[in-house]
């Protein structure tokens, strides 16, 4: 059984929390005591005995009071076919950073559209972010079909509208489903009221979608997190480079280059959980041993000779500004890419994306919360990277304010 991570974008008004609630509820992922608590809460909130499924995902007191989602909430459920991790992200524009956060680890996006309203500014924003983050699969759930009399015509119209907008973005796999989260149509069970829809239900798609296989086909990438050097006498020569295979496959005996020092060596041994293996693929936490006694430390990359990444101290990237404080030109920052950290500075704000018109606006070097900008960054040390389009692991980074230590931006390398 494998794992699918997905996120949901939309706001409470689109019925997002209700949809997640429905998914958990109908797939029997909710315990009876939680249902009891919810029934009690629903009753005190609405006076209604019907469960308000949205209450399931609103974890913080302020969220329950205001009926909104502020922060990313993670939910878990398992069916006979798969384990799921849902990042439930807030919809309001002031929470773009949280959507960015929840989406970053996802293989699939569920974008909710209210059937009565069609494609909105918010739909566009969620789709643009999904495209920047290169989410491999987009599932557009056209919700509240019960409020438009389950009309196929309305569904088709929104589908056309969405595709018109999406064609300017680089999205690979888009699927549309007509649902009613409130009534449960096409969420877990097929709808009897929309016989004109012949596609799969939402859960069916989630359970059967093929993901992850591609990560092993990418170039092999590995970064050292920690060097294991036991103090014991019998292990005097043990020097293990611990880290995770970020993508691709590494083999024992493979010729590799250590970056940024560019020293050539060979993988002598690969250990997983203290056992020697001949090869290790993406997502495995491993320990590498090298044949030569070369200088390797945390944050260094070990890459195959024939598949080298870029190695530079200037990068162009699209960043999402995430700090409440605006960008100050010349501000000293740190750039972190997985375990690698270096001092950096933003040399130039090249353009800013206007999320409403999808136009790149030049000559505006300001950056504030939720802005999406193309920037040129200069780093103190050489960074070894791939473009985000080629590799979601080595093409991503965060920026840290050296003074407050806050994560102030997240970026994807061009």
């Amino acid at each position: 059984m494998n794992l699918l991570r997905f996120f949901t974008a939309g706001n409470v008004d689109d019925g997002k929390s209700t949809l997640i609630g429905r998914l958990l509820f109908d797939s029997q992922a909710i315990s009876t005591d939680i249902i009891e608590t919810l029934t009690r809460q629903s009753k005190s909130k609405t006076g209604n005995t019907e469960i308000d499924l949205a209450l399931l995902t609103d974890g913080l007191r302020a969220e329950r009071e205001q009926g909104i989602t502020i922060d990313v909430a993670y939910k878990y459920f398992t069916t006979a076919k798969r384990k799921f991790i849902i990042a439930d992200t807030p919809g309001h524009s002031q929470y773009t950073r949280n959507m960015f956060t929840g989406a970053s680890n996802s293989d699939l996006a569920i974008i909710l559209i209210d059937a009565r309203h069609g494609v909105t500014e918010q739909t566009k924003r969620h789709t643009i972010i999904s495209s920047i983050l290169r989410i491999p699969h987009i599932l557009v759930c056209i919700n509240k079909m019960d409020l438009v009399n389950y009309s196929e015509e309305d569904f088709k119209k929104i589908e056309r509208e969405y595709l018109m907008f999406a064609k300017q973005l680089d999205l690979k796999d888009i699927v549309f489903i007509p649902v009613s989260a409130l009534e449960g149509d096409n969420v877990v069970a097929s709808s009897q009221k929309m016989v004109w829809y012949h596609g799969k239900t939402l859960l069916d798609i989630l359970e059967t979608l093929e993901v992850k296989e591609s990560v092993e086909k990418e170039n092999a990438r590995f970064q050292v997190q920690y060097v294991i050097r036991p103090q014991a006498d019998n292990l005097h020569d043990y020097r293990g480079f611990a880290g995770k295979v970020l993508s691709g496959v590494y083999k024992k005996g493979q010729r590799v280059l250590v970056l940024p020092s560019a020293v050539e060596t060979t993988i002598d041994k690969i250990e997983i959980n203290r056992e020697e293996v001949n090869e290790a693929g993406a997502n495995r936490s491993v320990v590498f041993h090298l044949t030569d006694d070369v200088d390797v430390s945390r944050g260094n990359s070990i890459v195959p000779l024939e598949e080298l990444p870029s190695n530079a101290n200037e990068i162009t990237a699209t960043i999402c500004w995430m700090d409440n404080t605006d960008y100050i030109p010349g501000q000293k920052i740190l750039l972190q890419q997985n375990s690698f950290r270096t001092k950096a500075v933003i040399k130039e704000v090249i353009s800013k994306l206007d999320i409403h018109s999808y136009k790149h606006i030049e000559n505006d070097s300001s950056m504030k919360l939720n802005d999406l900008c193309k920037v040129l960054i200069k780093t103190a040390e050489l960074v070894s990277f791939d473009s985000f389009a080629d590799n979601r692991n080595t093409g991503a980074f965060i920026l840290i304010n050296e003074n407050t230590n806050n994560t102030i931006a997240a970026g994807t390398i061009d």
Binding site: D33, G59, K212, E216, Q225, K244, N405
Partner: protein, 302 residues
């Protein structure tokens, strides 16, 4: 190769990655060890992350004085087995030193008091990161907490000031006096933990398995173990039952569940059939209000 990893392999690998990030980013980390199954899994994961080297952190235990004796015996057995450092600090000492009011009532839980001991200990050893076994599926407030959760000098969690956490990138940069709570098994569910325990053949304290025990049946129907800290009175309904514990906290606030599951397999089957959440079944401390956990976290609790 070629096919994707099993979900347990993926969860394991993610947890190991997080533990190694702690080792790489912090100067004085610690692993908060409660003797419960989640922290025992953390120790197992740390063995996989750092052996043949030593752990780059000690295990630390906040002893409330109300622990189940089985937990303490197991703790000492485990520490001896893996040959790592254990630091214990007692809530009773904090109560005396700080002249705090001890817990009162029929079931006097020191749950809130252990926060004082924890914060004192962090200060005493200048720990900059504390690794814990909390999981997001346990409770609604936990569902919103980051893997690297920055706390101010008072140990407080501010949900509105959480750092965005993206991809595999964990920002553990802090100012002096602040510390980070790190939760490597954030994405595991109770069932995942048990499936992992089964697969890895991880040993656990005996109270996780069904055994006969004398219990008081509380007004709300919970089974509370009889012990020297619980005030007995004539109205108590006392029963002898086959029970086990789903979580291991204090004897004064953790209730048992009726069970005949004496093996890990039987427990997994029981979990698949049962329909009550973990904390709902066993924790009196979370029943106080809808936001009980949120409030405790904000004030520096785990």
């Amino acid at each position: 190769m070629g096919k994707s990893l099993d979900y347990l392999d993926e969860l394991e690998s993610e947890a190991i990655y997080i533990l190694r990030e702690v080792a790489g980013q912090f100067e004085r980390p610690a692993l908060l060890f409660s003797g419960g199954k989640d922290s025992i899994c953390l120790v197992h994961l740390a063995l996989k992350a750092f052996r043949p080297g030593k752990f780059p952190f000690p295990l630390v235990h906040i002893d409330t004085g109300h622990n189940f004796p089985e937990t303490l015996i197991f703790r000492d057995y485990l520490v001896k087995n893996i040959n790592e450092q254990l630091i214990v600090r007692n809530v009773a000492d904090t109560i005396q030193k700080k002249q705090l009011l001890d817990a009162k009532g029929k079931f006097p839980t020191r749950n809130a008091l252990q926060t004082f001991t924890l914060l004192d200990m962090i200060e005493e050893f200048e720990f900059d990161a504390c690794i814990g076994g909390a999981r997001r599926d346990e409770e609604k407030a936990r569902a919103k907490e980051r893997v690297f959760s920055v706390r101010d000098e008072f140990g407080q969690w501010d949900p509105k000031k959480q750092r965005p956490e993206l991809w595999n990138i964990y920002n553990g940069k802090i100012n002096k006096g602040e510390n980070v709570r790190v939760f490597p098994i954030s994405n595991w569910t109770e069932l995942d933990v048990w499936n992992y325990i089964k697969r890895e053949k991880i040993e656990l304290p005996s109270i996780y398995f069904a055994h006969e025990r004398e219990c008081i049946v509380t007004v709300s129907g919970q089974l509370m173990n009889t012990n020297e800290f619980v005030t007995r009175d004539e109205k108590d309904v006392v029963v002898n039952k086959m029970v086990r514990y789903r979580t291991v906290g204090d004897m004064t606030c953790t209730s048992a569940i009726e069970s005949t599951a004496t093996t890990v397999d039987a427990i997994i089957n029981e979990l698949l059939e049962t329909n009550i959440s973990e904390r709902g079944a066993t924790r009196m401390d979370d029943r106080i209000s809808e936001a009980a956990m949120e409030d405790r976290k904000k004030s520096g609790y785990f």
